[in-house]
Symmetry: C2
Amino acid sequence: MADLDLIEGVGLLAAALTTYSFLPQVYKTWKTKDVSAFSLTTFTLFFVGIVCWLIYGIYKESLSMILANSITMASSFVILLLIIKYRKP
Amino acid sequence: MADLDLIEGVGLLAAALTTYSFLPQVYKTWKTKDVSAFSLTTFTLFFVGIVCWLIYGIYKESLSMILANSITMASSFVILLLIIKYRKP
């Protein structure tokens, strides 16, 4: 049981880190409008992937997946919009 | 069963998309060495988060989680190294 608690703690830490991690990028990109270095392909595929994870989480009735992927979907959507708005053709 | 297959298909698509998505960014950053727009905090936290997901996947004996997070760990590690190497202090 102690092992299970520890490993579930690692899982929750993983979810918290990968979900929270995009927020500093959203803030920086929002402020600087510097998007030249970003791959549009990467952020498009990542956003679609997160939408799929969210759909999967909803069907699996997993609150953790729904919460984590909703936040990541929102932050990656903002980054994607900023890339599309500020990139040079 | 058809519903289960469909939703597992969405889950596999999600895993494939979020795993593959970082490769165009690795390629672009490797070529251009342009890292000014990246948040070092974001990529550090994301990398640590993916390492935690990998540990979680190993304990859960989930081949999908191990495969997907190994690839994402490698690609996010390369991006992180490039950011540290080429960023201006």
